[in-house]
Symmetry: C2
Subunit: 318 residues, 2 copies
Amino acid sequence: MQMGTVFQASTAVWPSQITLVDVTPRDGLQDADTFVTTEQKLAFINALIESGVRHIEVTSFMHPKWIPQLADADTLASRLPRVPGVTYSALIPNMRGYERAHTAGIAEVVLVVSASESHNKANLNRSIDASLHQLTEVATRAKADGIQVRGAIATAFGCPFEGAVAPEAVIRIAQAYATMGVDQVSLADTIGVGNPRQIYTLFTQIRTELPANMPLAAHLHDRSGYALANVFAALQAGVTSFDAAVGGLGGCPYAPGAPGNLSLEALTAYVEAMGFNTEISLPKLASARQQLLNDLAHGEPVTSGHSMRQTETASHHS
Amino acid sequence: MQMGTVFQASTAVWPSQITLVDVTPRDGLQDADTFVTTEQKLAFINALIESGVRHIEVTSFMHPKWIPQLADADTLASRLPRVPGVTYSALIPNMRGYERAHTAGIAEVVLVVSASESHNKANLNRSIDASLHQLTEVATRAKADGIQVRGAIATAFGCPFEGAVAPEAVIRIAQAYATMGVDQVSLADTIGVGNPRQIYTLFTQIRTELPANMPLAAHLHDRSGYALANVFAALQAGVTSFDAAVGGLGGCPYAPGAPGNLSLEALTAYVEAMGFNTEISLPKLASARQQLLNDLAHGEPVTSGHSMRQTETASHHS
């Protein structure tokens, strides 16, 4: 046997703390086949908080007709329980969405643009440059309002329409976000095609190109069982915040075949095994999941959003 | 939202080449409920080679009564097809096993000892020190015969009987192997409880304690979907050789609840995605798996090995 090529090993690093963001109410539900009512969403969010979750992406402020599952964004946001230490964020496609979120009391917004033109067109119905122009105005306004801003980049590791995505396309958007003054840059593996070498390499490039100490986040979907490996790779590249959804729910209505989100339960157990203290109770999270799955199983069917998708473009996020 | 603690990222390294070792005929079958005949094993090994696999751990040279599934070790080894570029290895518990393997023409032997006393006792019916003493004699003999020697350490990341295993216990055995002059040190996650942080840390410690450029291998079982992440962590720690079994077959009859091996198919797709060229054909590997699963489904039931386990101790490997 050839005993293997010997090479110099890396020097691993470990952050002192990581942040887990539950995106179930937004990304976990935006493509659901049934409606979850506002009351049920509030009960679920309360159950998440009871489980120890402290960061929740609660909804998207899109035009209600595009994502009917999240058409209650304004009502939901205004009725969220105010709990010390709990932060709610919401996805924002444009200034109108920002204004609605701000009115509803959302203290953290997530901007989004895709790294691939065709997904940005399908998702947001405009070019990447047009998105960046609009988001710059939103970011400026948010900063003035004292609102935290995350800059998310969809399809950063692969596009359902274009396949491979050039790292330069991602870096360009990340730099635009930095120029806008965002508080964090998040790379999304919208269709779950990234592998840890790619995750590590791209996040490392991003770090090099961004101002020092820009916080980085990963939004991972899990197609082939690589998501947990991708978390480790991202940690090694300096990422300290991870999105996930209860039960691995979710997908992207504008990314054909997109798999579900990284499971929050799996992520929690995994990072706990690696010595991070999440303060999340897995039994309580299991109860929260069970109730939500029950709500989904008995909800009214969603029809309008799906039917429109065939002929129109829309604004939401992967 | 707290945007996360910023820290210095690691600098990843990538070996120019990695080695995948199929351990299906040994570890994938040693705990099977049915017998696979010698002819069927030879057909499977030929199918592996046809798929592009170049390193195959074919059997264990234990006393036949302990692992009846592998009781045909001598016959199988002597009938292996001689194919240029293909290396066969076999597990060796003691000098008698070594002599049988050498007689049968095996060119590479795998020594094994557990890092935990209770698993070593269950697996090999002796203390760790007694194992090391015997294996030193085997290694000396093998070196004189020009036989390659891998030194494997079972339960390196956790023991079914003792739970956590002290890194010092693993390091001590690794050092003993190095003193014996082995060509490679392999750490086995026998019961699939390792996480990538632990994998990275222990392999890095081992590297520090061993002579420079000692080749390292990982033998991973997959309990919680961590095995692929563990591969990435091991790569980062300088590991260049990985064991796996077709279909994730296997377990350990002396490690209660041990999950199957890391799947060779999953490992192959994963490392190919990361840019390594395995020269393994996944469709051909699927055919090989299908035939083996068919053989297993229709084989004669194994009874003696399982029944003996309740009352006696034995010699094999995880």
